[in-house]
Amino acid sequence: MQAMMIARAKELLESGAVDRVLGWKTGEFVYDVTPAVFTSAEELDAGFVYDEFCGPNLSKYLISESRKGGKVLAFLKPCDTYSFNQLLKEHRILRENVYVIGVACEGKTDGEMLKAAGIKGITGIRSEGGSLVADTLYGEKTVKKADVLHERCLCCKSKKHVVYDELIGEEGEPDPGCGRFDMVEKIEAMTADERFAFWRGELSRCIRCNACRNVCPACSCEKCVFDNDASGIAQKAAADDFEENMFHIIRAFHVAGRCTDCGECSRVCPQHIPLHLLNRKFIHDINRFYGEYQAGEDTDSRAPLNTYSTGDVEPSIVYEKGGNR
């Protein structure tokens, strides 16, 4: 797969069809890949990688990359294509300056997931069937891939690329039975006090690094209200921790109807806060109240929260339609 991607990227660079390539670059260890722009065959040979550690969603980088002149080739995984489409819908990416190659994905992991599974001191990793075999400073360790995949991959909503110019690897399909709302329903079933305690507990670990916001493809405001002194609500650090909690809730409201559930917020959180659950709650509610809707699936439909029809639910009948009191 990686070899095919490099070969195709070289062809496109050489023919002049594209000027640069957005992909993932190898690091110091086996898992620390970095999103990077490659401009030559030599650079591609030296550092381009595509493996189970290429989790970062490259779509958001295209907001700026598509404005730098020339054409950029972007390799997008299925879930990244939803973000790309949503950004097109919001007129944030200049489509004509991007050549998209959809690449198949079997689920991603990272160093944090391996560490959580007790694999420490990693010096090498190889994939053997459904397992990852790690060479570590403390001996060889084997782990099932399924046990270290990101949560978003364990309940992958779709292996289909919703937008591309060409594909490498097998095309998949959306999976409505992926179970991604199971945890949302568990939280909905809690009492209000339990739910409050759950979120207070999770969000109490927040260090306000803003990684969730900055990585989020739906958070593409040129200046975030929380960074704007003139807004009166700029927060570099909260005066008390409840305001910290509000940051996450307000952010979830702001991306409601636009969040494609790419899961980057939870992937990047250094404190492993399951932030995606806030967004999924909104997605689940939108599905129930306005009919099934997947942000990023297309570029021309109107989003449920951006449109009005006389059939829209009224607050009084939200509960009748399946909302929880």
Partner: protein, 341 residues
């Protein structure tokens, strides 16, 4: 050297907690270690290190400095500080222990930061030697020996015992207050553990990593490097690296409108943020490239230039593990090193 059977560890913690607030690394709900105040039943984490560093104890993320209250035409000014209580931090690793000496150079230099100083005076640091360093560790690049951690008291945990050695007067005082629980011990098991750890250190992937090339008169050369653009191109501009870093010490002071006055607080700041050091004319660092450069220039060039060659990094590896896009001081130093030769 003294020792304590691990079976008595709970009693040992309880005895410390009787006299002072005791903090130690405990696994949280997400399965990662964080410092927590000890209470009966708290279990010492087996993780190599905490997500947040031990700098929090002396330089908290947010602290109130002064309150202003409006009363008619007068302003009442109050100092919100309460009497600092004595506290003990157990389980600090060698890297974090070194970070305090870096923070001291900033906060205890003239003009002395009273808030920081009070915490330093009331805190006793009990370090714990590492036995299983990870691939992200590179403290030895800064002359730190994780098998011989500094602190007021140094500890080594073997399969059966906790060995302790006081290094300072504060440490002596702590151990003598616990003498009923401790017994004199032979150092041999500690020496054996240290040797084993040092063997592992030699095999670490970053064992040969060094920042030596940044020690000389390289400021302009490093600052002007064309590599910064490439290194910073995928930086998200978040503050993860700065906030998990044990030595990052930049802060902002802001006023919080309480509705009937002002609460002036200080909070951690990050050079990665767009409003860092923003002045009336705007931010002196207009793009992420310049903000990104600032962080590494500070650690690799500016700090050593002003502090007898001591780098602003202790090699704890937190940023290597936590950066969402895996860009970090090791990659930066290795890339720029080539330019300096």
């Amino acid at each position: 050297m003294q020792k304590l059977s691990l079976e008595k560890l709970g009693g040992f913690f309880a005895a410390i907690a009787e006299k002072a607030a005791l903090y130690l690394p405990v696994d949280n709900a997400a399965g990662q270690a964080q410092y927590q105040r000890w209470s009966e039943g708290a279990v010492l984490s087996s993780a190599l290190n905490t997500v947040r560093s031990a700098k929090d104890f002396f330089f908290p993320q947010t602290e109130n400095l002064v309150d202003f209250k409006l009363k008619g035409k007068t302003i009442e000014i109050t100092d919100p500080r309460t009497e600092q209580e004595d506290f003990v931090v157990f389980g600090v690793r060698a890297c974090d222990a070194r970070s305090f000496s870096i923070l001291d150079k900033v906060f205890l230099a003239d003009p002395v930061d009273g808030y920081y100083k009070a915490r330093r005076e009331h805190g006793t640091i009990v370090t714990l030697a590492c036995t299983e360093p990870e691939e992200t560790c590179f403290c030895q690049s800064f002359g730190i020996d994780p098998a011989e951690p500094a602190g007021d008291v140094s500890c080594w945990k073997t399969g059966t015992d906790l060995f302790l050695r006081a290094n300072t007067e504060k440490g002596e005082a702590l151990l003598s207050s616990l003498s009923a629980l401790l017994e004199e011990a032979d150092e041999a098991p500690v020496r054996a553990q240290q040797e084993a750890t040092r063997e592992i250190l030699k095999k670490l992937p970053l064992a040969a990593f060094t920042t030596e090339s940044f020690g000389g008169d390289v400021l302009k050369k490093v600052f002007d490097s064309e590599k910064w653009a490439e290194l910073s191109q995928s930086c998200l501009g978040c503050g993860t690296c700065t906030f998990v870093c044990p030595t990052c010490q930049c802060y902002d002071i802001r006023d919080f409108d309480t509705g009937h006055g002002v609460r002036r607080f200080r909070c951690w700041d990050s050079c990665m943020y767009s409003d860092f050091t923003r002045m009336a004319h705007g931010n002196p660092r207009l793009t992420q490239k310049e903000r990104f450069r600032q962080r590494f220039m500070h650690k690799l060039v500016y700090f050593p230039a002003n502090n007898n060659g001591e780098y602003g990094c202790v090699g704890c590896g937190r940023c290597l593990a936590k950066c969402p896009i895996h860009m970090n001081i090791v990659k930066v130093a290795k890339t720029l090193e080539g330019e300096l030769k």
